[in-house]
Structures are given as structure tokens and as C-alpha cells.
């Protein structure tokens, strides 16, 4: 509501002030202080991040060697050892989770934005996804335990994968939805005007245009999943052995090997960090550093790929 314009008798002078920059002017001073404040807030926000990284690098590099990346976890009271099996296990479990959650999340996002944006299904899915983002990660583990572990009778990589997929799905879905919504509607119109079927609009214009932003969402989800411990504790459990029970092969030799307790970096960090043995604690730090490095490399590679596909 606009207030009625007050008309007083005498018109006041409008003071446009001088042209020179002066800190004595209140609004100039205020603006200056606010810029300073935002700058300081940025530094304050970065400080904890960098101290964590610093600590990781300092403590993590102590036990870092080629051996730690290739060997099996050491028993208590021994020296040396590594966590090669946990690296492999993390890759396998996260890969399973990605394969399960990414296609499902992106296809669902396409449906709720392009094909049925106003349907009851769409609003139900959107609501469920938002609720799921707040799901305590341990509940994802409980779910996977009930659905997979209790049924198959084994702790296994797929059980861990399902638990992580459950955590990744809402992130993938909601970021993909955002990415699709950000495709300018005039591009959609152009595609339709060219005589594209709805499917062609999606596959030839919407998805290629939204792909970089979708990939960012996938990367976020992968990064989160790779670091999750709770959902793996009673799904993939842990193992002190290679998945294939033989040499340090990257992938299990048979599918049967998948259905065994599987090591992961996150659970290893959890186990060893509470250990009373110095060697194991040092390895926990190193594993944390390696985990962060893996996630970082994934992000950088993902962004580079996304940047290239945008051309």
C-alpha cells in the first residue's frame, strides 16, 4: 500500500552533496564497513575448512606410502599394513550406489519437470525427496539391512550400495530437477517448434543443456556417499581381506565375491580411529586423507567433463 503523498507548503532543498569520495559520509562509511564484514565472514568460514585440511595433510601423510594403498589392514600390535581393500571396497560400494540412484533420480526428475509437472505423483515425489534429504543416514542402513542383509543372510557390498543409493537419490533427483528447470523455456519452445516429439525435446535439448548442472548434483551425492559410515556399519560391515580373496584385483572375480562383507574407507576410519594402537590410528588419518583426495579428484574430473560437454 502506497502512502498518500504528503504535500507540505515549502519545497525543501535537495542536497546532492559533493562529488568527492569521503568516509565521513554515513552511507559511504556503512557501505565500506559492510564490504569489510563480508570479507571477514568469508575468511572465518574458510578457517575451519582449511584447518581440517591442514590437520589431515599433516597427520595423514605420516603413514602414507605406496604400501598403505596396496596392503591389507594390519592386525593389532603389528606395524605396517594398509587399506588397499578398503579403497577397492569404497569404489565398488559407491559405484553400486551410483548405478542404482543416478538413472532413477534423473529419470524421475525428467518426469516431474517435463511430463507430469502438475500431477499428484510429481508433488508426492518432490515431497518425499525433500523429506529423504533429511533422513538420518543410519536409517538408510537400517532399511538396507532389513531389505538386503536380512534376506540374503550376508553383509555385502550391494547391501551397502543400496543404503548409500537411498541417501544419494534425493540429492540427485532434486539437483537434476533444478538443472532441468534452469534450461530456458525458449529452448524448449524452439525444439517443439522444430517438430520434436516430447522425448526428443528431452533427449536432444533438455538433458544435454542441463547435463553439467546435473553432473554437479551427482558429484555432490557421490562425495557425500563416499564419506558415509553409519549406513555401512551393518550393511557392508568390514573385511580385512580382498574382495576376491586373492590378489589386489580391482573387481571381484565372480559375482559371488560381492556377497561378502566388504571393506570401506569410511568404516575403516571409524574402526581404527577408536583403536588404542598407534599404527592403526595413523592409518586412520591416512585413510581420511586418501578419502578426501579421491572425492576431490572425482569432483575435478567431473567438472572438467561437464565443462567440455557444454560446448
Amino acid at each position: 500500500m502506497a502512502a498518500p503523498i504528503q504535500r507540505s507548503g515549502a519545497a525543501a532543498e535537495i542536497d546532492l552533496e559533493g562529488l568527492e569520495l569521503s568516509l565521513r559520509r554515513p552511507r559511504t562509511l556503512f557501505s565500506y564497513l559492510m564490504s569489510l564484514l563480508t570479507g571477514m565472514a568469508t575468511i572465518a568460514a574458510l578457517f575451519p575448512l582449511f584447518s581440517v585440511l591442514y590437520l589431515l595433510v599433516v597427520r595423514g601423510t605420516a603413514a602414507l606410502s605406496l604400501g598403505t594403498l596396496r596392503e591389507l589392514p594390519p592386525a593389532a600390535m603389528t606395524t605396517g599394513g594398509g587399506f588397499g581393500n578398503a579403497i577397492v571396497g569404497t569404489f565398488v560400494i559407491v559405484a553400486i550406489a551410483t548405478v542404482l540412484s543416478v538413472p532413477l533420480g534423473i529419470l524421475a526428475a525428467i518426469y516431474i519437470t517435463e511430463f507430469g509437472p502438475d500431477t499428484r505423483t510429481a508433488s508426492a515425489v518432490r515431497f518425499a525427496a525433500k523429506v529423504l534429504t533429511g533422513l538420518p543416514s543410519i536409517l538408510a542402513g537400517v532399511f538396507a539391512f532389513a531389505v538386503i542383509v536380512a534376506v540374503t543372510g550376508e553383509f555385502s557390498a550391494p547391501a551397502g550400495g543400496v543404503a548409500l543409493a537411498l541417501l544419494m537419490l534425493p540429492t540427485v533427483l532434486l539437483t537434476a530437477e533444478e538443472a532441468i528447470k534452469r534450461v530456458p523455456s525458449r529452448m524448449r519452445e524452439a525444439a517443439i517448434g522444430m517438430g520434436s516429439t516430447p522425448t526428443q525435446v528431452v533427449t536432444k535439448v533438455i538433458v544435454p543443456t542441463a547435463a553439467p548442472a546435473m553432473l554437479t548434483g551427482v558429484m555432490l551425492a557421490v562425495a557425500r556417499a563416499a564419506g558415509e559410515t553409519a549406513p555401512l556399519l551393518f550393511t557392508a560391515l568390514f573385511s580385512n581381506f580382498w574382495m576376491s580373496r586373492t590378489a589386489p584385483n580391482f573387481l571381484p572375480k565372480t559375482l559371488g565375491d560381492l556377497m561378502k562383507p566388504t571393506a570401506s574407507l569410511a568404516v575403516m576410519i571409524y574402526n581404527f580411529s577408536g583403536s588404542p594402537f598407534e599404527n592403526q590410528i595413523a592409518l586412520a588419518w591416512t585413510a581420511a586423507l586418501v578419502l578426501v583426495a579421491i572425492v576431490l579428484i572425482f569432483n575435478v574430473v567431473g567438472q572438467a567433463l561437464a565443462g567440455r560437454s557444454a560446448d
Binding site: R186, E189, G193, M194, G195, P208, D311
Partner: protein, 278 residues
């Protein structure tokens, strides 16, 4: 979907009680057009002749764009859209239930108000329609031909693989024209194609239109009466009827451009054109 449309001529529709419509490509007759409860347009009847440029002029909100978008079923995307009437293209009502709107849009292309290239390379933008239609021949040749027709080839021939979004507004709009003509549709609908462009770019598009009409039939919506006068062979003047409380567009007058501008029959047309030119 044949890429080169089969050119029909002669008697298109024997059922019509009219002389042979040998040169009518689109016979549009809209008696009522609704968006939900809102009656947007009524009583528009005109025939677009092959190889001509037809302009739709009129004040804002008179339904010019709506009518234009009826001609390739772009209005189907608007919720609550209903049409009473017909749009006959090559003897077939494009609103008949057995007609696929996707196929209609492949024969009747469109250029929009805002340049809207896809976020891909210049080459892939132009090749888009060819790929859509599973064109098996040499795509490069078609892309070059389309870019030449759109008078853009010389400016982009060395950077076909760079992003179309890096082009200037005028170049983007010519790219959109190239993209539309690459599949050689019969008709090109242009919805205020120059409204986002500067006068020089506008001039280029206008020259292009007169060049393109040798091959394509064009229907254009424009706010710029001078533009209609410069390029159009036939002009339809639409106006807004507020008498029934709503805002319903209708066609006041339709005829050769010269007649509309120099010797309008209707009072509304006279006023509108006088307002613009005096």
C-alpha cells in the same frame, strides 16, 4: 517424414464451395479460440498464398501471436487451449484428430521473438532438424546451404564448431532462421522476429525475408507497421474487442498490404495506421 515436402498444386479441396485454391497454402478460419474460460480470439479468416509474405499487425493483446501460433499448433502447449474453426494446410485440417502436431511443426517452421539457439555449436544448431528427421544425406552441405540462405555463412564459416550462444543477437536470430529453413519446411512463421534486434540487424532480417519468400511462404507478426509495409504482400489487421467485458482479438481487415495502408476500408484500421504514420 519426407524432407522435401511434396508440393501439391491444383485442387486441394473439392468440398469447398470456392474457386480452385491453387495458390492457397494455408486456409485459416478461426471462429473462436479459448484459453480456458478466456476467449482470446474470434472471427479470423484468411488465406495464406504460396510464396508470399503475410503480416499480422494490430495493437498489443489483439491476438496476432496467438493466431500465428495456431498455424503450427504451438498453442497446443498452452493449457486450456480450445479452437473452434479450422486451419487447412494442403487440403488437410491440421486440427483433425488424426493429425500429429509434431508432424505439422516439421512442415510449418517457426522463428520466435527472442533468438533461441540451443546451447550447442552453430553447426549442431542448424543440423538439429536434419538429425530430427533422420536425414541420411550429407549434413554438411545442408548446413552450409541453410546458413547461406540465412545470410550468415560468411560470418560463421570459420567457427561452425563454436557455441551458438557466443553470437550477437542479430546473428543468433539469423541462425534460428537457418535452423528453421534447414529442413525446408513449406511455411515459416515469424513471431516478431526483429523486436529484440537493433535497426541494422532488423534491416538484414527484412532483406532476408524478401529473399526467402522465393522458396518459402512466410507469415509474420510485427509491431512495426513500417516493417509490414516494407516486406508483406498481404496484411491482416487485428484489433481488440472489449465490448463484452473481456479482451477478445478479432480480424478487422485483411487484404493486399498496399490497400490496407493506403486505402483501408474500416475505421479502426484507418485510425491505427494514421496513429502510427502521422
Amino acid at each position: 517424414m519426407p524432407l522435401t515436402p511434396v508440393l501439391t498444386n491444383g485442387h486441394l479441396n473439392g468440398a469447398l464451395d470456392e474457386p480452385p485454391l491453387s495458390d492457397t497454402l494455408i486456409d485459416c478460419n478461426i471462429s473462436e479460440l479459448h484459453y480456458g474460460k478466456f476467449k482470446a480470439v474470434r472471427d479470423v479468416a484468411l488465406k495464406v498464398k504460396k510464396g508470399t509474405i503475410t503480416a499480422f499487425i494490430g495493437p498489443s493483446g489483439c491476438g496476432k501471436s496467438t493466431v500465428l501460433r495456431c498455424l503450427n499448433r504451438m498453442n497446443d502447449l498452452v493449457r486450456g487451449f480450445r479452437l473452434r474453426g479450422h486451419v487447412i494446410f494442403r487440403g488437410q485440417d491440421i486440427y483433425a484428430s488424426k493429425v500429429d502436431p509434431v508432424a505439422v511443426r516439421r512442415h510449418i517452421g517457426m522463428v520466435f521473438q527472442q533468438p533461441n539457439p540451443f546451447a550447442m555449436s552453430i553447426f549442431r544448431n542448424v543440423a538439429f532438424g536434419l538429425r530430427l528427421n533422420r536425414y541420411k544425406g550429407p549434413v554438411e552441405d545442408k548446413v552450409e546451404a541453410a546458413l547461406r540462405q540465412a545470410a550468415l555463412w560468411d560470418e560463421v564459416k570459420d567457427k561452425l564448431r563454436t557455441s551458438a550462444l557466443a553470437l550477437s543477437g542479430g546473428q543468433q536470430q539469423r541462425l534460428c532462421i537457418a535452423r528453421a529453413v534447414a529442413t525446408e519446411p513449406a511455411v515459416l512463421l515469424m513471431d516478431e522476429p526483429c523486436s529484440a534486434l537493433d535497426p541494422i540487424a532488423t534491416r538484414r532480417i527484412e532483406e532476408l525475408m524478401t529473399e526467402l519468400k522465393k522458396k518459402y511462404t512466410i507469415a509474420i507478426v510485427t509491431h512495426n507497421l513500417q516493417q509490414a509495409k516494407r516486406v508483406a504482400d498481404t496484411t491482416a489487421f487485428l484489433y481488440v474487442d472489449t465490448s463484452a467485458g473481456g479482451r477478445t482479438g478479432y480480424m478487422v481487415e485483411y487484404g493486399p498490404t498496399q490497400a490496407i495502408f493506403e486505402n483501408p476500408r474500416e475505421e479502426h484500421t484507418k485510425e491505427y495506421i494514421r496513429g502510427e504514420f502521422s
